[in-house]
Symmetry: C2
Subunit: 335 residues, 2 copies
DNA sequence: CTGTTAGCGCGTTCAA
DNA sequence: TTGAACGCGCTAACAG
């Protein structure tokens, strides 16, 4: 049972006080600020040597308790298994690391209960800040988050009833780009495939679609956990109506519908034009390659992280987090 | 600045001692074990009511410090943006949650330095256990991990110099399945595409490939961060040699090479047969659909989590973690 | 039976 | 350079 080495062990071994060890470990020596604690090079070296030898690792629990800082962030998203969120997760972790932070991750699977649970759980773990993708009907969880006074940034979606720090893609603009593209490719009868979820990323795209196409434009709505049958039904309907242009508003339904059409022997990109949202490898395997709206994932993660660190710093300095509610909007690009 | 509510606030507000609050919060009441602390229903209710009203959340830092348990796991993998690891990450988080654990995630990006850094960082955070995907040349990090005495389980890969708790896919068997499949589909001149990394998941597949095909069988090696040019080169070579069967040993190179072949106008599945490792949407868009080796991701995550919890429990009971070194091997299936 | 007092764990930090 | 209080929750020992 390798007992954990504590600051006390180091002090004893080096024959100094625990306070001195603490100072040395934190480089609180010779600081040119107010308090400069001077330690002789010799003892400093001795302490460091002992620490290294015993493989001393300060308990962050104790430090945390004392100074109230954990250097941990909480990231709540929909599903890390989805390449869209997995990629964002990766970039967020990267940014966090650059700032000396570690990250707790959680998946909501689009369940508001899970969202609330994760908020609570991460609050108990004393995360210093959150990056969250709220779920449909996630108001309760958001309330908790706001009430906690903990810094947070919302990404990918906004909830209509909350004006909070957010980093979002300009979905209306993205949809207009998608429509321009599909029209320039010759499509006349254009429909849209979306999720049956009240999630702003989807509804914003739908609204923009209707704005351009007119209020009677048709939009297919698929459930979050869609099956092959769901996608098949859309494909059947599309064929029946002789739709010749389809805008798919997200990764997963995009591929699902493509698969259904392909299985039915439809000549994709000949009989029907597709423009998708979010990258998928699949798009490359058609001629011409399927165009798609690419959201700037690295920037979303970067902006969100920077925003969050700004808020954390502001709070550290005693500022009022509650006043900051800006939304950062990023443009997507057509590929 | 919503000051955090502590156990003291509750005690004061409810007019009782902090100890009583603690007992109530932990349901340490009426336990039929040795110590049964009896509290009147009335005060119990009062305490719970106050706690609810003030939205009391116990500081896990304090609890952690006292009882040495954090209920946090550390998961270190290659790249959460890769659907393979993202999916595993998702399942691991799910399992952790079922056991009341929260998860710190980190990406190595196949860099041994990052691996070591993450091990150290998570150890400082006092995670109770690890699930890790070691990197090539990751011995240093593994040493740290072993030396720490902290429970851990290795997944996806094994390092030759360490015999440690592991959950792995039977890669040799998987390769044999892949070869049987591609042969039954008529391929004669079969080659393999792999990563140029000394990672057991790859080398095990390569060894098995050579075992069946003979020592002179050809294997293409692509770098981890492969470019279109890398994949193009493989495609060119494949065409030049009139290879008619290709086994691609992983997700990313699989799709990359397919893309290169497709761009060159090769009739995939006609002129050349492909059998891949790991699922990709892309496989569905060929006729016949491309066969692939599916690793049992949910089971890998599940077994790894259960294994880890067993180790954590064993350690909690004072057992010797160092003795446990079993490897759980799971079969992949051909799809 | 119902409840309280007090020390502990570990690193930080102020006063000496 | 050191002693000791501190943060917060847990729990053994003790009291009415």
């Amino acid at each position: 049972m390798p007992k954990n080495i504590t600051i006390k062990d180091i002090a004893q071994e080096a024959g100094v006080s625990i306070a001195l060890v603490s100072f040395v470990m934190n480089n609180r020596i010779g600081a040119d600020g107010k308090q400069k604690y001077r330690v002789s090079e010799a003892t400093k070296e001795r302490i460091l040597e002992v620490a290294r030898r015993l493989d001393y690792r300060p308990s962050s629990a104790a430090r945390m308790l004392r100074q109230g800082r954990t250097h941990v962030l909480g990231v709540i998203l929909s599903d890390m298994g989805n390449i869209f969120y997995g990629t964002i997760a990766h970039y967020l972790e990267k940014m966090a690391h650059l700032h000396g932070y570690t990250v707790l991750f959680g998946n909501t699977e689009e369940d508001p209960e899970q969202f609330s649970r994760l908020v609570r759980s991460f609050l108990e773990k004393d995360v210093e800040g959150f990056v969250v993708v709220p779920t449909q009907d996630g108001a309760a969880g958001m309330q908790q988050l706001i009430a906690s006074g903990r810094p947070f940034v919302v990404i990918d979606r906004h909830l209509p009833e909350f004006q909070v720090p957010s980093v979002l893609t300009d979905n209306a603009d993205a949809m207009r780009q998608a429509l321009r593209a599909i029209r320039s490719q010759g499509a006349q009868k254009i429909e849209m495939v979306s999720y049956a979820m009240r999630i702003s990323s989807m509804t914003d795209r739908e609204d923009s679609f209707r704005e351009v196409m007119g209020p009677h434009a048709h939009i297919y709505h698929l459930p979050f956990n869609l099956t092959d049958e769901d996608a098949d039904a859309v494909a059947d309907e599309v064929l029946r109506k002789e739709t010749d242009g389809l805008i798919t508003a997200s990764n997963v339904p995009s591929v699902a519908v493509l698969k259904a059409l392909f299985k039915k022997g439809v000549h994709i990109q000949q009989d029907i034009r597709i423009v998708g949202f979010d990258y998928s490898n699949v798009y490359n395997f058609f001629s011409p390659a399927i165009s798609y709206i690419l959201q700037p994932l690295p920037q979303i993660a970067q902006k969100a992280a920077e925003y969050l660190f700004r808020l954390i710093e502001l709070k550290e300095e005693g500022g009022d987090i509650g006043q900051v509610k800006e939304t950062i909007v990023l443009k997507a690009t057509l590929k």
